[in-house]
Amino acid sequence: MTDVAIELNGVGKMYPFFSLSNIDLQVPQGQIMGLIGPNGAGKSTTIRILMGLVHQDCGDVQVLGHRMPAEQVAAKWDIGFVSEDMRLYDSMTLGWHMSFVQSIYVRWDAAYAQLLLRRFGLRAEQKIKGVSHGQRVKATLLLALARKPKLLVLDEPTTGLDPVARHEILRELTDVMADEGRSVLFSSHNTQDVEQISDTITFIDRGRIIDSMDKEVYLDRWRRLRLEVPWGVTLPALPGIIGVKQDGRLAVATANAFVPDLANAYESSGARVHSIENMTLEEIFVANVEHSREEVEA
């Protein structure tokens, strides 16, 4: 039943100016999935649907073996959810919030909560309204982490945080990994974080999933080929190349399904391959989005 932490099948949702369609997603237990995509792509909507806060128009959603949104209460006992647009009660202290959550959840680990207070540099006596943005995010995360939930669903957990705070949070997320019964789904604009700790990467743009696969395999499919194109040579259109930018005699080809043969193909056409470089997730992100925009305009 719980080999798979999250499963979305054919999920769709229509809004007046935006629609999510054909969302197929799977997060096996013990894995970390990073969700990336431009603003308005549908990351938050997808997350809300899997939390049962929004009812999908079609498709099945199962989280920790529970159908959503019907069984959301059962599921939420084992989920720690933090979203970027979530706020704690201004007029109350962090300590009050901790007691409040503790009074609901059996699995609250008080010792771990105290440890997190120290690690995050937070004080329980402080009222939420007096606290900085970064501390507020950490406080909300603390409330989710201290329950040691089987699944963590985080919408933009490190957005707007200074490098130290980001590092503190990444550390806790990777510590969660030590237990192979626990899983994490997080969406982020911070491609560095996603690249570093995700096992699987899912790319969403304009309501559709563009890619969803093993991170290492994904990173391995992308390359930048720097080419020198002598006069009179035309670069062939090759499968696996999603874009070529040429400026005079120099060209940069971006491959999203790289095989060594591609370099050979270019060489045979008369071009010289200067270098073949790996791409960072950020570069892949931009290339992907630019490409899909071009496709729409064409």
Binding site: I32, A178, E180, Q196, D199, T280
Partner: protein, 131 residues
Amino acid sequence: MSGAFAISQSDKRPMYLQIMEQIKQRISVGDWTEGQSIPSIRQLAVDLQVSVITVKRAYLELEREGVIVTQQGKGSHVASTPGLGARLREQELKRHLEQASRIAALLGLRPTELEERLREAGDRISEKETI
């Protein structure tokens, strides 16, 4: 055990390659000896704050190269082949020498000139060590 590992994201090489290299380095300098048990995939992932899948890939490749061995349920350890450390050092030397040749070619040096530079480098190092 995995204290002095450093994975850098500004290093353009994939993370799993960096991990592989650093593990090989440990073995070649003798920090990790033949047959010694090493952190589990998950444990190293947590220590380095990288994804499990990255460490898994590194371990897989290392196993393919015969550098480590992973046993189901028992964790991983350095391969017990005698002379593994020496072999890895040998590989590293070969890599460095090839790199040196490549750069020498770009500088337009002849093989004898490269040999001369190598001898000079060797002298400099032994000087430093006697001081």
